[in-house]
């Protein structure tokens, strides 16, 4: 292991590990692979906002000059200044979307931060690079590509693994005894969760994968049917797709007893909303509650909410969706707090891309850079990380104020997904360089600081 892996290794983590080993180690000699501590748990929870959330209306500058520039650019999409939910940052006053009061509260109490103008980048990118496709991610503004890239953590096209999965790969030593998938999507098969070696699974909220065909009397008949099914799905066929299909069903059969255990009831102090995202996060909280029993030390989760591709009627649609995020994420934070794991679980948003500042009818078009939200006890909250784009720069578009990539108000990202993700991965205990292959392109600025 090279020493530079340790650059971002926080003092807090070091003390934790030292304490659990009962020895004093120097940072330079500490071997990452031997850092496993069974009673240590951390989880990264991705909330993906499918369709491209309009970050311009998620967090808005309240400074009068900036707000006026915002309102002028957004036209009918502009949120009224007096409805925004104010929060403070060194860069000035800002306001969350009016339907995000829980996020405002988490931010004000230091448990949430905003990371501004994050986007998929090959390397640090300025105006002069915009004409050179080799310096840009493939197929910017294309949903399918950006959904893949934000999950794969790679600005190239096709990918077979996601950065959540790779982060989990690199903390395998924490999961030597894991009796449950380490990388879990509650939202279908997610590239984000696919690692190169980590056991991944996609689950549906509330579904513990019982087979109705196995509810059979007498029990001897049910047992015989189950035994025969196992024999069928574990055979080896000469056809690779047949084997793959059998393997998927076998995976479901194996998960059932574990999910049954995870379902064991917990009464949450703050009930989860019965929304799609609420149900996903509730199941994640239940799985997290079993981490000791299941011998899992590190887990990656993926949840999602769709519908953010607001080309039309954005004002209404986005508000409803952000409210769902606000309520579900708050309930999830409180659940981790109830479990005594608020410090161990970090929730963060991803989205396809940001949107144009300039409206398109009653909606907005596909953009690039976007603002993201990070929530958890370990988050250094009450701050906006990264330079928030100046709305006044949109009106005076030029090469010295590189906040915008074009006249539609597409944000030119100041911070890459790789830096954002590496900051999370480092907190998680993962090797940020195997998690993001292009992290080296950003020099030493690989930690945005929001995880301390």
């Amino acid at each position: 292991m090279s020493n530079d892996h340790n650059d971002g290794f926080s003092r807090r983590q070091f003390l934790q590990l030292s304490a659990s080993f009962g020895v004093l180690a120097t940072l330079g000699n500490l071997d990452w692979a031997s850092a496993a501590t069974p009673d240590d748990y951390k989880a990264l929870v991705c909330v993906f906002l499918f369709g491209g959330n309009d970050g311009h209306n998620t967090i808005v500058p309240l400074d009068q000059v900036q707000y006026d520039a915002y309102a002028a650019a957004r036209g009918g999409l502009a949120l009224a200044r007096n409805t925004l939910l104010p929060v403070d940052d060194a860069q000035g006053p800002f306001g969350f979307h009016p339907l995000m009061p829980q996020t405002q509260d988490l931010y004000r109490t230091g448990r949430a931060a905003v990371v501004a103008n994050v986007g998929m980048l090959v390397g640090p990118t300025g105006w002069s690079d915009l004409g050179d496709p080799s310096k840009l991610p493939a197929n910017l503004r294309s949903h399918s590509d950006q959904v893949i890239q934000m999950q794969s953590g790679s600005p190239a096209g096709a990918a077979s693994s996601g950065w959540g999965g790779r982060a989990a790969d690199s903390v395998a030593s924490f999961n030597a005894t894991a009796a449950f998938p380490v990388s879990v999507s509650l939202s279908g098969s997610a590239l984000f969760c696919a690692g190169n070696s980590v056991p991944a699974a996609s689950l549906q909220p509330g579904n513990i994968l019982s087979q109705s065909a196995m509810s059979l009397w007498p029990q001897s008949a049910a047992d015989a049917r189950a035994a025969a099914q196992r024999q069928v799905v574990t055979q080896t066929s000469g056809n690779q797709l047949v084997n793959a299909a059998n393997k998927q069903l076998a995976g479901g059969i194996d998960l059932h007893p574990l999910l049954k255990q995870a379902q064991s009831s917990i009464t949450w102090n703050r009930p989860f909303p019965t929304t799609g995202l609420g149900r996903q996060l509730a199941d994640i909280a239940r799985i997290i509650s079993l981490h000791s029993q299941l011998g899992v030390g590190r887990q990656v989760f993926f949840a999602s909410l769709g519908g953010f591709d607001t080309h039309g009627t954005q004002s209404w649609n986005q508000g409803v969706l952000l409210q769902e995020v606000d309520n579900a994420v708050r309930a999830f934070y409180d659940a981790t707090d109830q479990l005594g794991l608020a410090q161990s679980v970090t929730t963060f948003t991803l989205s396809d891309f940001g949107r144009t500042l300039q409206p398109s009818g009653s909606g907005s078009d596909h953009g690039w850079g976007n603002h993201h939200l990070v929530v958890g006890g370990a988050v250094q909250g009450s701050r906006i990380y990264g330079q928030f784009p100046l709305m006044t720069n949109y009106a005076n578009l030029n090469a010295t104020a590189e906040d915008y990539a074009d006249t539609r108000g597409v944000l030119l990202p100041r911070q890459s997904l790789s830096q954002y993700g590496a900051t999370l991965a480092r907190w998680f205990g993962a090797d940020p360089n195997t998690t993001f292959a292009n992290l080296g392109n950003f020099g030493t600025a690989t930690d945005l600081g929001f995880m301390g």
């Binding site: 499918f50 080799s134 493939a138 197929n139 503004r141 949903h143 399918s144 096209g157 096709a158 077979s160 279908g188 098969s189 696919a194 991944a200 699974a201 996609s202 549906q204 579904n207 994968l209 019982s210 087979q211 109705s212 065909a213 059979l216 009397w217 007498p218 008949a221 015989a224 035994a227 025969a228 099914q229 024999q231 069928v232 799905v233 055979q235 066929s237 000469g238 056809n239 690779q240 797709l241 047949v242 084997n243 793959a244 299909a245 998927q248 069903l249 076998a250 995976g251 479901g252 059969i253 194996d254 769709g306 591709d309 080309h311 039309g312 300039q358 398109s360 009818g361 078009d365 596909h366």
Partner: protein, 754 residues
């Protein structure tokens, strides 16, 4: 209440002491064997004197022939039954001779017993046996397996009888004395042969309709002749067997040879039927339809694959619901046409196109926004792809779905919308990377993929596609011509909103000053002529119909057919579909290990339902369950469809788009969904499954039935062994049927059409 009545009745009896006397005998209607005694009692009421006088057939005290009865009512039967095996016992009140009571008494022979039968064992064929036992009377009959034999009375302890043994092993012997009710217990007599019949070949297979010579040898006799029979098919006197022409559900026959020496000793073997052509035609129908049925198998066998394709190309289109906004009607038509439309090939191509040129009810919520899309796919499924592109580009539902409707030239509200221009290039025509003719990605000098279009192309095409609005005649046009939502029919030009300037798309000029329609056509022509379209669409259609991992050569052959149907026409979908299905790679019945494609939940369900002849409820009733399997009908989560064409099988280099919606979770959901089809109301089997139920006690027959119905005789040995092992442990036949179906239909061999 009741006790009051009883008190009243008692008072009434005492109040009328002069009531007539009555006599009651007990027991009544009884049976007694010869020489046995039976005690009768007589109860006298209404008289002071309880005594009676007993008689038998009115003979006081009876006599030796009728039996004797004493003053206490004790009857002793005679040594020989009286005529008719019956007497009447009567008691007369001594105080009131008018009061009497009679009862019938059956007097039968004593029950015989059997202690031995000789010879033992008995040889098959005609026999004379001696039966030894007790209490036989003249006229006693020996019964053999319940049937009476000619019997000779030898003595009260011995009978002889003649008969014929036709069943080896245990047979029952009993003796029945004349008259009623004098039957011995069963005695077991063994029939043992020293002959042995061996039939060869054993455990053979024979193709349907084909002959197979059987031979029999009979041990321990010089008489080698046998009589042949078969449980299915026919067999002649020489042992030449002919398999039935059509596959019986049980899938096999038992062949029996009976020795002519004793007409009893038999040898048996089984012969399993094979249907070698079934794989050939069923594989084709799995690719060209929503799954084989007995009818479609018969048809394609009859006329052959090329003629079957011609027939399908000529079938009229199944209808789509019009004049409705209820999206359930669309869901039901989509599923229903696929399930039972006669235009199966068209429906299969519509299904494929619906994952390429996508509209979804997650945005287009009403039926009338979806039906024109499906009509365009249906109408053009065997038409020209350029026509399809033209119609879908101007479709009002697509205009709504991808925001081309009311897209306006720069400077006007909204501006030129880039959504449809981007997707029509990326998803409906060219894809994002330049392709070689064989579908592989073209690389530049640095080994990097070459984008097919740039953001500038998107913006330019967006300008060309400005100036279209809804054809809403009831909506007052604004000064500039844009109108509110109206879905039936295509969009109409709104020239004021059209960008009149020149556009350059993919390096080609669209001149200034054209009408909106001229610009749309010019733009689409540029896309349609791009060399990517052939390999791009060929790959998508091959994956949808035949295999997820076609060879580059296969793609190239189909792309070439797209480029030129042989008559200089580009984009002829009928020619493309025909070429895909007739290609040697598709028709190779022994394909390589990477061949095949996973059935989607809808395809899997419909194939099962078609093969079994089930009659499911409307799909709108269970669409929420399909949603839990990732395939809510006409409800793709995005314009990329229900699954990505670029999805690779987990931990594999192989493509498997449909695997994206077959995670372990979705696999269990699918298993539960399929299982729900095999119970009718009350938990009974649906009527369509009763033929399976009828053979379910024979594990081999049931296993053959599911193998032949779903896997065309290709069931792997491990699956067969698993089913055969489980079936005997089931409680009843419906459990057996569901076990065989469940294990087979959720096996990878059925999930993957290959």
């Amino acid at each position: 209440m009741r006790s009051k009545i009883l008190v009243f009745l008692a008072c009434a009896l005492f109040a009328f002491p002069l009531l007539a006397a009555t006599v009651t005998i007990s027991p009544t209607s009884s049976t007694v064997a010869t020489s046995a005694a039976r005690q009768f009692t007589a109860t006298v009421t209404g008289a002071t004197d309880p005594s009676v006088t007993w008689s038998v057939n009115d003979v006081a005290g009876g006599n030796a022939a009728l039996g004797l009865i004493d003053a206490t009512g004790r009857y002793v039967a005679p040594a020989t039954p009286p005529a008719g095996y019956a007497v009447t016992v009567k008691a007369v009140s001594n105080e009131d001779p008018s009061a009497s009571h009679s009862t019938a008494l059956t007097v039968r022979w004593q029950t015989p017993s059997v202690s031995s039968v000789s010879p033992s064992p008995i040889a098959p064929g005609a026999f004379t046996i001696t039966v030894t036992g007790q209490r036989y009377v003249d006229g006693a009959v020996v019964q053999w397996n319940g049937a009476s034999l000619p019997t000779t009375f030898v003595s009260p302890t011995q009978l002889t009888a003649t008969g014929s043994a036709t069943q080896l092993g245990a047979n029952t012997v009993r003796v029945v004395n004349p008259g009623p009710g004098a039957t011995s217990s069963n005695f077991t007599a063994n029939v043992v042969t020293n002959l042995a019949v061996t039939v060869t070949p054993s455990a053979s297979t024979v193709p349907l309709g084909q002959p197979l010579q059987f031979a029999a040898s009979v041990a321990n006799t010089t008489n080698q002749s046998v009589n042949w029979s078969a449980s299915a098919g026919s067999i002649d006197a020489n042992g030449v067997y002919t398999a039935p022409a059509a596959m019986p559900l049980a899938g096999y026959a038992t062949i029996t040879a009976v020795s002519a020496q004793d007409n009893v000793t038999s040898g048996k073997t089984t012969v399993t039927f094979t249907d070698p052509d079934a794989v050939h035609y069923a594989r084709f129908l799995e690719q060209a339809t929503f799954g084989p049925t007995p009818q479609s198998m018969a048809r394609v066998r009859e006329i052959g694959i090329p003629a079957w394709l011609d027939e399908q190309f000529a079938k009229p289109e199944s209808p789509w619901p019009t004049n409705t906004t209820n999206r359930d009607h669309v869901i039901n038509a989509f599923f229903g046409n696929a399930l039972s439309g006669d235009d199966q090939l068209r429906q299969r191509v519509i299904f494929a196109l619906s994952e390429i040129v996508v509209i979804s009810r997650n945005k287009n919520t009403n039926a009338n926004e979806l039906v024109p899309w499906l009509q365009i796919l249906s109408r053009n499924a065997f038409g020209n792809y350029r026509t399809l592109l033209g119609e879908i580009t101007l479709d009002a539902g697509m205009g709504h779905y991808l925001d081309m409707v009311n897209s306006a030239r720069p400077g006007l509200a909204g501006g030129a919308n880039e959504n449809y221009p981007r997707e029509v290039m990326q998803l409906f025509s060219m894809g994002i990377h330049e392709l070689n003719a064989d579908g592989s990605v073209k690389l530049d000098a640095d080994g990097l993929p070459i984008p097919t279009y740039t953001q500038a192309d998107v913006q330019q095409l967006a300008l060309a596609f400005t100036g279209w609005t809804y054809n809403n005649s009831s909506n007052t046009p604004t000064a500039s011509g844009q109108r509110g939502a109206y879905y039936p029919g295509p969009m109409v030009p709104a020239p004021y909103y059209h960008d009149a300037g020149p556009k350059t798309v993919l390096g080609q000029l669209i001149p200034a000053g054209q009408t909106p329609l001229e610009d749309v056509n010019a733009g689409l022509d540029i896309l349609f002529q791009h060399p990517n379209v052939g390999p791009f669409i060929a790959t998508r259609l091959i994956r949808a119909l035949v295999t997820s991992n076609p060879s580059p050569q296969y793609i190239q052959r189909i792309a070439a057919k797209f480029d030129d149907n042989g008559q200089g026409v580009r984009g002829d979908l009928a020619a493309v579909v025909r070429a895909i299905l007739l290609d040697a790679e598709a028709r190779n019945d022994d394909p390589p290990s990477d061949f095949g494609r996973l059935r989607t939940p809808v395809q899997h369900t419909i194939a099962m339902v078609r093969a079994l002849g089930l009659t499911p409820t409307s799909a709108s009733n269970f669409d929420y369950l399909l949603a839990a399997m990732g395939e809510s009908i006409v409800n793709a989560p995005s314009v990329f469809g229900h699954y990505s064409p670029a999805f690779r099988i987990p931990k594999s280099p192989l493509y498997g788009p449909e695997f994206q919606i077959y995670s372990p979770t979705e696999a269990i959901n699918r298993a539960n969904f399929l299982h729900s089809f095999w119970s009718a109301s009350g938990g009974n089997l649906p009527a369509a499954l009763l033929p399976f139920n009828a053979i379910a006690s024979d594990a081999t027959a049931l296993t053959n039935a599911v193998d032949n119905t779903f896997l065309y005789g290709r069931m792997p040995a491990a699956t067969r062994a698993a089913i055969l092992q489980a079936l005997p442990l089931m409680y009843d036949n419906p459990q057996r049927v569901r076990t065989a179906l469940y294990l087979t239909l959720m096996s990878g061999d059925y999930l993957v059409q290959h």
